[in-house]
């Protein structure tokens, strides 16, 4: 596997991203608007039983970071479809670069952009009531990294499989957005209908949001974990599920990419 090829594909995605101002603005602006509008709109009516200090703007914030990663990973890997239509992908495929290197290059490109954006968004954490000094950074970074690897790989697999960006948007609307909504980003599993709560427990993105929440609260998390997160969860469980999600999605992407038409 060629590390130079991986590096150059990552660099390409970064260059392309930062040269398209509309993408930078859109990728940061959309979650920001979501956070401010939905967070502000529900601030007066949303109460978490047993956690009266947690306002909705604060509750919603980890979910919005997950949304930043989701949008960025997905839209970055959607370029696989555009690359195929524009001919660039074929030029990569005829090179003596291995298919796993192509998957890693594109996926890590998405990861790099998602991490940059998520870290920029994390700078707003004090506005949500989180103290940057109290943030458990290893957990937060691990959650961001694993989530972005998983979603970029999943995005790559979808883009490899689909022929059109329209089809990609449809899949995103019916699969990925509902996954995010059912991740605990918008409402906690406690109090949700039994079916919804069960779906949330099966949703790997829910463990991403839970781990991000855990990281952002830092030492204060155990006191409110039962109200805002999964009961009987742990850092190890959340990161293990995320790691399995990332490896599974990466394996799926590699498997699809290995097939010739």
């Amino acid at each position: 596997m060629s590390s130079a090829a991986i590096r150059v594909l990552v660099r390409r995605d970064l260059l392309r991203f930062f040269r398209q101002r509309s993408r930078v603005v859109g990728a940061l602006g959309q979650p920001l608007i979501f956070w401010l509008v939905i967070g502000g709109g529900l601030a007066g009516s949303f109460r978490i039983p047993g956690a009266a200090d947690v306002g909705y703007v604060q509750y919603f914030y980890p979910g919005v970071i997950a949304l930043v990663v989701l949008f960025t990973s997905i839209f970055t890997t959607m370029s696989v479809i555009e690359d195929r239509q524009g001919g660039f992908l074929q030029a990569v495929l005829v090179a003596p670069t291995s298919r796993p290197a192509i998957v890693l290059g594109k996926t890590l490109g998405g990861v790099a952009i998602a991490l940059v954006q998520a870290l920029i968004f994390l700078a707003l954490a004090p506005l949500a009531g989180f103290s940057l000094g109290a943030v458990d950074w290893p957990i937060t970074i691990a959650a961001l990294l694993l989530t972005s690897v998983a979603l970029s790989s999943l995005g790559f697999a979808l883009a490899w499989w689909l022929n059109s960006t329209q089809g990609y948007h449809v899949v995103m609307s019916v699969l990925l957005i509902p996954m995010w909504v059912l991740s605990g980003a918008m409402f906690p599993p406690q109090g949700a209908h039994g079916v919804i709560a069960a779906l949330m427990r099966c949703n790997p993105i829910a463990y991403s949001v839970a781990a991000l929440r855990r990281g952002l609260y830092g030492p204060a998390y155990p006191a409110i974990s039962a109200q805002v997160g999964f009961s009987h969860s742990s850092t190890a469980l959340e990161l293990t599920i995320l790691a399995a999600f990332a490896l599974g999605a990466l394996a799926l992407a590699a498997r699809l990419c290995a097939k010739r038409t």
């Binding site: 090829a5 150059v8 390409r12 001919g87 005829v94 090179a95 670069t97």
Partner: protein, 312 residues
């Protein structure tokens, strides 16, 4: 490096896109696959570059069977696509850097070669501009500079004239012929343009996925008996019927142009033209012309259709 395609076959469902294709390409040769859309040229290109797997057939490189998927084989190829496969958001130089990395060139080797490629294709002044600002001809030259960075022994091009005007096409081929000689490269190209096919040393004429003729452009042109008379008329079918009945000629109606043309092969064409004009004096002919046979005429002779018409 010589290349032999033996019995190469590819099906898409019931349709056979490439049918038992067998050709041998000599080292240093410019070899073309000529045919209309749907003839199997692009499928052959995809089979040679590993983008498609063959259903049957073998590829031999210097007598040794090879797989187009083998990275060592692909490292010896330079591939030019029908539409430049460059990234418009990146600069010319960045596109070359990317190409060099994909072919595993160390930076110390890539850097001087990139400089050399930019200079050779007269792109040094524009190297720092995004490629989306380049003209079609410049993109084609940049693509060629990119695929030559790793010094390929075989250059494979799919319809390289696509999007090029005549001047750019001439310039592109002049540079290519010079490079072929300097670097002893074997060049394969697909085309449906007779003007482009004329640059090839030898041609395989494809129709409906099958090889229907192979030879040098001169050998192929000799298949047409004499010069070619072209007639444009408002009702070419009526003119053709009259020519067959009264002058015992065998005109071919070619519908790949507007208006459609009648083509007549004639060993002494110059003597025939006055007779034609006399036979249809009342403005029924829009134009009558005479010229040496082109490779497009060869295709009409072989198939009864023009290169601009889809394969049967």
């Amino acid at each position: 490096m010589s290349l032999r395609l033996e019995g190469l076959t590819r099906r898409f469902g019931a349709r056979v896109a490439v049918d038992q294709l067998t050709v041998e390409i000599k080292r240093g040769e410019i070899f073309g696959f000529l045919g209309p859309n749907g003839a199997g040229k692009s499928t052959t290109f995809q089979l040679l570059t590993g983008l498609l797997a063959p259903d049957a057939g073998t590829l031999y490189l210097d007598g040794q069977a090879v797989s187009a998927l083998d990275a060592r084989f692909r490292a010896r190829l330079g591939v030019v696509f029908q539409h430049p496969s460059l990234d418009g958001k990146l600069t010319g130089r960045e596109n070359l850097e990317l190409g060099a990395a994909l072919y595993g060139l160390p930076r110390t080797v890539a850097r001087p070669r990139i400089q050399e490629g930019l200079a050779l294709f007269e792109l040094t002044d524009r190297a720092h501009e995004p490629v989306e600002r380049y003209s079609g001809g410049m993109r084609r030259r940049l693509e060629l500079a990119r695929v030559l960075l790793h010094r390929p022994e075989i250059l494979i091009m799919d319809e390289p004239s696509a999007g090029l005007d005549q001047a750019s096409l001439r310039r592109f081929w002049q540079q290519l012929i010079t490079l072929r000689t300097e670097r002893e490269m074997t060049v394969l190209c697909t085309t449906h343009q007779p003007e482009e096919a004329a640059y090839c040393d030898r041609l395989a004429v494809l129709d409906g996925g099958r090889l229907i003729a192979c030879g040098t452009p001169e050998e192929l042109r000799k298949r047409v008996g004499g010069d070619v008379i072209t007639i444009e008329a408002e009702r070419p079918e009526e003119i053709a019927a009259t020519l067959r009945a009264e002058l015992h000629l065998d005109p071919q109606l070619v519908t790949d142009s507007d208006p459609p043309r009648l083509l007549i092969e004639a060993p002494r064409a110059h003597e025939l033209i006055p007779r034609l004009v006399e036979r249809f004096p009342s403005g029924r002919l829009l134009s009558v012309g005479m010229r040496p046979p082109s490779l497009g005429d060869v295709f009409v002779k072989l198939t009864g259709r023009g290169l601009g018409q889809e394969a049967a």
